[in-house]
């Protein structure tokens, strides 16, 4: 434990680590209520079909069955969605992908519920399925017959099977390409990646006698769950209470709604508590995955390597529902310049509806795909110019005074330091170690990335209890990254008390203050600032009361370590938080309860310099940066690629808890490595061929690199709490490109298509040899 209450920058363990390690931490599946029923879902067997009718008689007659819900239980107007209101809680009228929830059953046991769900008979009339964005955009067949009538929260430009489009221009890209010496153009393809949070999606819902619904579920924002269920079931938000117990990983999977609306509907119909936990297969097939992108990147440069102009075009598979797609495309294009100076740019793209599960938020949020393309592309430029890839980047990176694309602020900028740190630590100039085997090709690869920390709204409440200890109330769930520990550290730091004196309330829409959620790498930055400002108000109140007790001016007082307020320079003239709080509770002023609420305001697009159509985020900024070097060995006989070591430097502004920051960097690296080398959801026609952990491989202890060296760079962000910025996603974003660049520099081949499986690498190597 830290000495004397100082907690900032300490390597403190997660506050609930022991609970999790000993199995006593409760996740949603671990909750059991008296009389609770178990739910199960019938999934669509077809990718595209009209529902002609349901026959529930057999299922209703089965043992233990208490309720069945279908699309017929949903009002026509109960469509929901983040950007486009295009989804129902259960398929209504049509099914749009294999695995889509069609009906749900609540029964006494899970076995009974699953058996009854399988016995629900649905009559379908099949429609031709559209399985690629190209096919969908050309077809007369439509997924959403009334798309143009659907409510949207941004300008999507959606029509036909076009879900959304975005176009961003800055400078004069035609002039830019005319003025440069060389133009490079490459195409890249990325795959669907499954989140594989170890905890499958689950929800438990209960209805009280007044009809108010309580939902426990793993999520990234209890307020987003409340909003979705409210729309999906036609309930006012005040009739919904949403809580988040422990969350067993998410990575974007559980940000928008998963099965909460379905489970709430079952609880309302059965008038009983209902718990539903997806099987691993359902978790793969039903929820969401990372978007496949096709990306064309064209960059014009001067002979000395100066970037002049860039055009990027992206075609994105959105799956059956819009979900976060308009924003994923927007963010991907907004990051397409990367952290570089390129005066003339034109970035444009489209998302198409297809008959696959929806694609949505996943750590990196479009930036992982875009950075794979742009950073691979830059290495090809370096190779053509015969320049060192790091030197080429150093020549073009944003300086601290430079704005982000669109004119928005970048905040602090530790880019150069990130680059220098990994270059030095990896001994880049020596070119890397020799291959370990005679058939091995070995090389170092580099990539760079940036990702935002700030957007949308946040708030926090800090309450001083009667004994002078503190309850911190933020609604952002801790997904495992240890964010609650970080928020407690920030509060303890401001109030100069041991972290053990700060407890945190669990996220609960009834009691927690609003925060948009634990996503987009914004938690430490946004919620952290809410906590710091609310804590400072508590400190001010403490000083006001202490001034009355000590008969002096608040300006003459300071907080002392351990929970005391004292006259500056006279530590013996002091009073304790306990004494002040007791006085507040019983005699004077009332309990000390302070809050802070704010919304991020740094406009993304300055219309005087930049034109943007269909960019759905009004305010965004404060960037974190990451530079990565990987040491990769490719077996030239099998094509198998192994990452030996990785050096990952992240500019996080200030590490509130360096150990937890390292955890983010290491975990993100291995997840990014899985994306680069192993992971791909494969469709056999319209059906996912590998929706199990037997067939969809994520990295294990054996695939993970021998060593990951996390390097923390602290540039001190002027807007962040004690200078901190986000770290949740940035560690993943550059990994695929760094590995691809290493495979190329090892002398194997340039791989334009993720994942870089042994087969793909081997084929590319032979293709390259054939061309030679």
């Amino acid at each position: 434990m830290s000495k004397g209450g100082r907690t900032l920058g300490e390597r403190l363990p997660q506050g609930n680590a022991r609970e999790k390690l000993t199995g006593s931490a409760q996740y949603t599946a671990d909750l059991y209520l008296p009389g609770m029923l178990h739910g199960a879902i019938l999934a669509s067997p077809y990718p595209h079909a009209r529902i002609k009718g349901y026959d529930l008689s057999a299922a209703l007659a089965m043992p233990g069955v208490k309720a069945i819900v279908t699309g017929d239980d949903l009002n026509e107007s109960w469509r929901f969605g983040v950007f486009v209101k295009d989804e129902y809680a259960l398929a209504k009228g049509k099914v749009l992908y294999v695995g889509q929830p069609v009906a749900a059953v609540a029964a006494d046991t899970e076995v009974q519920a699953r058996a009854a769900a399988a016995a629900v008979h649905v009559t379908y009339e099949q429609i031709p399925a559209l399985l690629t964005p190209e096919a969908a955009l050309e077809s007369e067949v439509r997924l959403h017959d009334k798309l143009e009538e659907y409510e949207t929260v941004c300008d999507t430009g959606g029509h036909g099977n076009l879900c959304s489009r975005t176009d961003i221009r800055e400078g004069d890209v035609d002039k830019g390409f005319r003025e440069c010496d060389l133009v490079f153009e490459h195409r890249f393809e990325t795959q669907a990646q499954a989140h594989v949070a170890l905890e499958p999606c689950a929800a438990l819902a209960q209805v009280d006698s007044g009809g108010r619904v309580t939902i426990w579920s793993p999520c990234q924002s209890v307020f987003r769950v409340q909003a979705f269920v409210s729309e999906a079931l036609g309930l006012s938000m005040s009739r919904l209470r949403c809580l988040s117990p422990h969350v067993g990983g998410s990575f974007g999977l559980k940000f928008e709604a998963h099965i909460q609306p379905i489970v709430a509907a079952l609880a309302m119909k059965s008038r009983r508590a209902v718990k539903l936990v997806l099987s691993r297969e359902e978790d793969f097939e039903m929820v969401r995955a990372r978007h496949p992108f096709s990306i064309r990147v064209k960059t014009g440069v001067r002979r000395d390597g100066t970037f002049v102009a860039r055009e990027v075009e992206a075609l994105v598979d959105g799956g059956a529902y819009a979900d976060d797609s308009p924003s994923v495309l927007g963010v991907a294009l907004f990051k397409a310049r990367g952290p570089y100076r390129i005066p003339h740019v034109h970035f444009h793209g489209r998302v198409a509806y297809t008959n696959k599960l929806r694609f949505g938020a996943f750590r990196g949020f479009g930036n992982a795909q875009m950075t794979f393309a742009t950073e691979s592309h830059i290495d090809e430029i370096a190779s053509a110019l015969k320049m060192d890839p790091i030197e080429l980047r150093l020549k073009n990176i944003m300086r601290s005074e430079d704005a982000w694309l669109g004119g928005g602020i970048s905040g602090s900028n530790g880019l150069k330091q990130c680059i220098e740190e990994v270059r030095r630590a990896s001994a880049w100039q020596q070119g890397g170690p020799k291959p370990a085997s005679s058939s091995g090709k070995r090389g170092l690869g580099f990539a760079l990335a940036a990702h935002q920390s700030g957007f949308l709204a946040s708030s926090a409440i800090i309450r001083l209890l009667e004994d002078g200890t503190v309850v911190l109330n933020s609604s952002v769930p801790d997904l495992g990254q240890g964010s609650t520990t970080v928020l407690r550290q920030l509060c303890a730091e401001v109030l100069r008390i041991p972290i053990g004196n700060v407890t945190s309330a669990i996220p609960d829409t009834d009691g927690s203050s609003y925060d948009w959620g634990a996503g987009g790498s914004r938690l430490t930055f946004m919620a952290g600032r809410s906590v710091v400002e609310a804590s400072q108000r508590v400190a001010d109140r403490l000083k006001q009361h202490a001034a009355e007790i000590l008969e002096c001016s608040p300006a003459d007082l300071e907080l002392l370590e351990g929970g005391f307020v004292a006259v500056k320079g006279v530590p013996q003239r002091r009073t304790s938080y306990r004494e002040i709080s007791t006085r507040c509770h019983w005699h004077s002023g009332g309990p000390i309860i302070e809050s802070h609420s704010w919304v991020y305001r740094h406009p993304a697009i300055d219309s005087r310099t930049t034109s943007a159509v269909g960019f759905p985020i009004s305010d965004i900024g404060n960037y974190s940066f990451s530079a990565v070097v990987v040491d990769v060995e490719v077996d030239s006989v099998t094509g198998k690629t192994q990452v030996r070591s990785a050096w990952a430097a992240c500019d996080v502004g200030r590490a509130i808890n360096p150990m937890l920051v390292e955890g983010q960097i290491e975990g993100a690296f291995v997840q990014g490595m899985g994306y680069a080398l192993l992971e791909e959801m494969v469709w056999d026609g319209a059906r996912i061929a590998n929706p199990t952990l037997m067939d969809y491989k994520i990295p294990t202890f054996k695939e993970a690199p021998d060593r990951i060296y996390p390097i923390i760079v602290e540039s001190g962000d002027p807007d962040g709490p004690f200078g901190a910025k986000g770290v949740g996603e940035i560690g993943l974003v550059p990994v695929a490109a760094a590995i691809a660049n290493a495979v190329r520099r090892a002398g194997a081949a340039r791989i334009f298509h993720l994942p870089m499986t042994a087969e793909r690498v081997l084929n590319a190597m032979h293709g390259a040899e054939d061309q030679d």
């Binding site: 997660q14 680590a17 999790k20 996740y27 422990h246 955890g663 975990g667 294990t700 202890f701 054996k702």
Partner: protein, 155 residues
């Protein structure tokens, strides 16, 4: 549905279970031992690892009816175990967990590894734990924590 007597964490439970019921379901739904997690129900992820007669096994692949004569130890049964306690402390100190969903299974398998091999090499730890998936940590801090616990136990 047959009556079976299960010896779990040193306590005998006589319970009626269908012959198709897995040990994982019995532990969680009938006995309230929810420290054993269901991650895949297919024997791949390792989150449901328990020790059956001191051998790490997948509770999701074990039928309760077949466990009648065996001694089953779940994460809850390691509370006063010296090796497991050292592991829990090392995992906590070294941030060898994030979401924690895989952690009970990791502790069980690492405990049985250290019981058999008190001074494993890093390679032996990676081999020994390779059947347990973690999506959060990137594994490095888990390997370090097992090494640290082994070290601690040697003192």
């Amino acid at each position: 549905m047959g009556e079976v007597t299960l010896n779990i964490n040193g306590t005998a439970y006589s319970i009626a279970v269908p012959s198709t019921e897995t040990l994982l379901t019995t532990l969680r739904d009938r006995l309230g031992l929810t420290g054993t997690k269901r991650g895949c129900n297919q024997g791949v992820c390792g989150a449901c690892t328990v020790a059956i007669d001191d051998v790490p096994m997948r509770a999701c692949l074990s039928l309760s009816a077949n466990c009648a004569r065996a001694g089953v130890r779940t994460i809850e049964g390691y509370e006063s175990d010296r090796i497991a306690s050292a592991l829990v402390s090392a995992f906590e100190r070294g941030a060898a967990l994030q979401c924690g969903f895989c952690s009970p299974g990791m502790i069980v398998v690492a405990r049985e590894l250290l019981a058999r091999n008190p001074t494993p090499s890093e390679t032996q730890i990676r081999e020994g734990l390779a059947g347990n998936l973690c999506r959060c940590t990137g594994y490095q801090k888990i390997v370090s924590a097992v090494l640290a616990a082994a070290d601690e136990l040697q003192r």
